[in-house]
């Protein structure tokens, strides 16, 4: 087990780097995209809300692998060249954005009911009320589930193994098939994932508890 870690540290650390990079990029992307679609969903314009709703429902109900492979195989063949890492990251961003949209929408709706009217009656515009009144309060409701989405995102980045995206799982598979010590290889990979996800998960639990009592 420790042999595997030390002998293949080059590959593993590269993979780790790609996993972190993909997770961070996809997190930023999916937060932006997710918030955008959440705002569309609660938009007062019906057709905008419908577009948001359809996007979220469709993306949420299709496997991540299917979405990712479309970007890895279909788009490059017919539209534009995308490499495996980018295709995986885009797929992950789109998939996660639907879940973040749901989280953000629920958070905003929980706050918005009374507050929005109050803010509007004081003379704020819709967007002012949204950014100055509703959003700051919604953040507190949104953060814990958002954190869980981020943990899911880190784990889901393993889909890059399917698109030769050089991530931790991809390297782990290569190590497993060259050393033929499957058990230890995947144990080492698991350990490296846990180093990323466990602290995050405990941090989220801590935040959740603190904000619940506050």
């Amino acid at each position: 087990m420790f042999d595997i870690l030390t002998n293949n540290w080059g590959l593993l650390s590269t993979g780790w780097g790609y996993t972190i990079m993909c997770s961070v990029l996809a997190l930023i992307g999916s937060c932006v995209l997710g918030t955008l679609f959440a705002l569309m969903e609660i938009s007062p314009y019906k057709w905008v809300a419908t577009i948001g709703r359809v996007y979220v429902e469709v993306v949420r109900n299709i496997p991540l692998l299917v979405i990712t492979m479309v970007f890895y195989l279909v788009i490059p063949k017919y539209v534009v060249a995308i490499n495996g890492f980018t295709a995986g990251t885009i797929g992950l961003t789109i998939y996660t954005s639907a879940f973040i949209a749901e989280t953000v929408r629920a958070g905003i709706e929980a706050i918005a009911k009374g507050q929005m009217e109050g803010a509007r009656s004081v003379g704020l515009t819709y967007s002012q009320a949204m950014t100055q009144i509703v959003f700051p309060q919604a953040i507190k409701i949104i953060i814990p589930p958002l954190g869980n989405q981020f943990i899911n995102l880190v784990k889901n980045s393993s889909v890059l193994a399917f698109t030769s995206g050089f991530d931790l799982m991809y390297q782990g598979k290569i190590i497993a098939s060259t050393t033929l010590d499957t058990f230890s290889s995947y144990l080492a990979v698991g350990l490296l994932y846990l180093v990323l996800t466990l602290p995050l998960s405990y941090l989220m639990r801590y935040l959740e508890k603190r904000w619940q009592t506050a």
């Binding site: 692998l65 499957t182 698991g190 994932y193 996800t197």
Partner: protein
């Protein structure tokens, strides 16, 4: 358009449906096992049995924080190394059940604690034992609260079966890959079909859950 209909010829469509059958079979068995196991583990987590609960909690945390793909590898390649030989269906069912049970345990635990605060004392003071109060008062209410997150977890499970293509489970996504692997022009039709089939099953499930949640809420 012609390619599209060639791709979804009866032969290929039948092959996709066979894959769909495996996807559903594996999903249903895993949902059943993980629901029972997850509820059980969630209660252990909530009840806080000295010695047992922290261990269960720790193991759940480990499993929840690993990628499912890794657990699949362990189940298919790792378990045989320590003497448990599994075919690909069993290995997938075990991996999915263990992973989703850990997720469900958390849902159950937080569902129970949301209900239990005042209710448990009230039930106990009426002369019920702890187990009676749990079974008759707390669990039914908690279950109502848990339906939406549980169903979205089940939907995740159905989607996650696609990851088992990596250990060659003959499910929907794998069958689609076999078809377009033999004729690349069938790639787009196959992905359209995949999206459609997964969407229909999962969307139906989420609509059903909303209906049930609404009915129970009254």
């Amino acid at each position: 358009m012609n390619t599209f209909f060639d791709a979804i010829s009866w032969v290929n469509f039948k092959y996709l449906l066979e894959g769909m059958g495996v996807t559903l079979e594996v999903s249903i068995i895993s949902i059943a096992i993980s629901f029972v196991l997850g509820t059980f583990l969630g209660i252990i987590r909530y009840v806080n049995i000295k010695g047992l609960s922290p261990i269960v909690g720790f193991i759940i945390d480990i499993i929840r924080n690993l990628p499912l793909m890794l657990i699949l590898f362990f189940s298919y390649f790792g378990l045989p190394e320590v003497g448990v030989r599994l075919n690909v269906v069993t290995a997938t069912v075990i991996a999915l059940s263990v992973f989703e049970a850990a997720m469900i345990a958390e849902i159950v635990r937080s569902g129970i604690s949301a209900v239990a605060k005042g209710q448990m004392e009230a039930a106990r003071s009426n002369g019920m034992t702890y187990a009676q109060a749990m079974y008759h008062i707390i669990l039914p209410q908690a279950l109502r609260k848990m339906i939406p997150p549980l169903v979205s977890q089940f939907i995740s499970l159905i989607k996650d079966t696609s990851l088992a293509t990596i250990i060659l489970l003959p499910e929907l996504t794998y069958h689609a890959q076999i078809i377009y692997g033999q004729n690349v022009n069938y790639m787009i039709p196959m992905y359209v079909m995949l999206a459609l089939l997964y969407f229909v099953v999962n969307y139906a499930l989420s609509v059903a859950s909303r209906v049930i949640a609404k009915k129970l809420a009254i």
